[in-house]
Amino acid sequence: MSLEEIADVVNKLNLKRNVNFELCDTTRPEYLCEYSGLVVLATNENIYLRIAFSKYFPLSFPEIYVDDTSVFRAHVGSSGKLCLFDSSAILVKQNMGDQVLIDCFDQALTILNIVPSSKKYNDEVCREFDSYWLAVSTKRAYSCLNTGDIQFGEYPMVISKGVSVVANTKNEAEAILQNNFELTINQDTFERVCIVVRIRDSSSMIPLAKQFKWSTIRRYITENTSSSVKRQFRKFLNKQVKHFVRYLLLIYPAKDGEILFGFRLEFNNSRFSKIENSLTCKVENTFCERIDYNYLLSRGGAASSLKNKNVLLLGCGSVGGYIANNLCQVGITNLDILDEDIFQPENVHRHLLGFDSLKPNQYKYKSDLVKKELESKFLYADIDSMNFSDRSVQAFIQETHRLAHYDLIISALGEPTLNLEINKILASYNIDTPFLCCFNEPYGIGGHVIISNIDKHSCMQCLYTDPISSELVPFRGSLVAPDQIFKKNLSGCSSSFVPYSCLDSQQTAISASRKSIEILTGKLMNNQIITWFGNADEFLAKGFAVSEFYINNHQKQYFESVIHTSKDCPVCTKTLEG
């Protein structure tokens, strides 16, 4: 919009809202022009506002500033800029520039008219507290405390090269500094104590200021905590100190979740005196970056119940690698990965790991590399890459009792004989661990997830049992007609592979991961087969034939069904009879 057009838009605002915004003499470089004017709030307070237009207006909203930034106001940043709308949540009519300005102006007044000390004011302050606190903080600390369980407590904070981590234990804090922030723990590393205090429900947020006094903080805590917290806080206040440093973290229970904010307190008394009465206390606002499990996972929508589940993943190749990544990302922390393969250059374009996982002449086991990758990506992932001398599944399942230690066993081996053997072991030894198998079909025509051992009406073997006899047959949900060979062989048998792409593996892995979460959160009640269908054009062009199952279902693109019992299944019918 041109300057003249903007002038016209401002003129309409002046007329319709009975205000008098005039073009400012100076304009900040990021704007095209700015207008200034006086408005009267509901409290009869007069304040000057500046409306700044960018050259992209009305594609970009006009920004509205409060001139006087000495008073804290809700939704007003430290520069005085008002937080008007969440532009990602609204659609602006581009042909109504004048109305856009009027709507923004009205919204600015609505915000400025929120009465301080009202409940709405408190809620609004809480909504933007973190950004406010970040702006007024001079210190920063990471917290991996699960604050939901804390009323009052003292926790170690370890500081290395200016990075502070408060954790349940010193070891935990040091591990995060080393493993995730790649800092070394040495003689320069030091420890502080952090007092964590929970503010009582329905208390108001601490009155906001840029610089706090110790007396204000102390009073706020004593007036807004439960009696037991207050008692413990009093003990702290009664401590006799001279030179003394403590971090203080407050947990404020807001409507949309807990707010964590902190202070660094440095007492410098000329002689020992109670903390409560210390007059010389340097207070530094401390921004608290939450890295605790529940907070990090809450955005991912994961259930915190996943944290304590134990999952065994057999095979971390193309499909398994993505599953491992998905599971850790949604909050699985205890994952055992068994895989005997070495990661090689030809794996790169259909595997989670990339070329950076390859060191010349030092190719490593996929499971070790996936462990390294995921533990550095996800703070709480604790992966055992099961580096036995014999990493084969055949060897692992010799000790059948191991399978009972898990809440879920996932096989991404693509080896039906081994999958059926595991299925048999689970049935024979009455092991209740749910069993999920997943694999791709060739040339991107689809993939499957099979879940068994949830109920006892059927099992994995039912899908490989002839419908009218107990005979072993190829997978009955197969998408390809029988008796075809798909393996490709570019450089010898050892490198033979079935053609499918990384996208096929990711699609199968997503289905498998979703179902894994359903299983682990107790939402899946029966054995299931899930199939996704891809396009068969390439497959057919190569002269291959699809199965009846593909023909009957591919238009739906997705098939999900309970596993039907095969009446003569040699595994589950025997178990049932038994």
């Binding site: 190749g317 398994g320 081996l413 693509g414 009218i468 005979e471 047959v473 798909f486 499918y500």
Partner: protein, 337 residues
Amino acid sequence: MVNLQKEFLDFHDKIKLSDENTILREKREILLNKLSDNICDEAVTYTTFNQGSYAMGTGIKPEDDDYDIDVGVKFDINKDNYSDPIKVKKWVRDALDGHTKSVEIRRSCVTVTYQKDDEPIYHVDFAIYAAANDDGKMYIAKGKEFSTEENRKWELSDPQGLITTIKDKYKDDDAKQFRRVIRYLKKWRTHNFSSDGNGTPTGISLTILAYNYFSVSKTYDWSKQKDVYDDFTALYNLARSIKNSFSYKWNETDSQWYHTISTDLPVEPYNNLFEKMTDKQLNSFYTKVDTLLTKLDEVKGKDKRSDACAVLIKIFGEDFPSTVDKSMVGTSESASL
């Protein structure tokens, strides 16, 4: 237990006498043309129809290459006007005489034996009916050329009703399994009873036992979204039901207990189809059914296809195929490397 459906279907393909069999159709047509050309002026109008197992779709190929074709000839006559049924039979016999090796008036039909050079022997049985009776029913002419008066008679009969009854019992693929199982039973009969006919249950008696006791054996295959038929189980269940339908009966003459069975034709004249077998012969029938079941049980217990086939070959003869398993089955799954 292995899946023997493919073997049973292959077996069935080998033994079935298809109603589409062109050679039989040609033979029949030749004779029907001959009949129409040569029948005497005295004879009244008639129509013909196929009857017997060939018409019901339950025929099997004869092992001795002695094919049987059954044709019904319906004359528009009232039986009451023809006290001697042999007279009517002679119209047919005389019309066909000289055409083939032999034409003979037998008790229930006029039989034409047809053989040329090295071709198989064909018997075409013409059953003669009076079809314009007061009661609206059909009567078959019974008696040989020189039978005594009491053996020459018109007997109530409903051959077309029988065909409809059998054909309508099941539909589509179920009917196909029903007919296959009847053929298996007939093949079993060929291999387990003497060929001279004494003490051998007739084809129609086995068909009616199946009509009474057969039940379809199929399982819905979710992956193919259709029924999968299990002929072995269908045959097994039928054999078991037949065995269970025998009753234990004291025979005064032989002073012995026998397992006997009776089953009535489901149409006119509703006669017991086992009436011509003695109690002793019925007992022998029972024993053979029992042995059949034992052997089928043996098949059930086999985990190898070749072993199962070996037992079935003992039951049905060499027409039953012998196949061998492999130690592995193909798969489209792939190691997720």
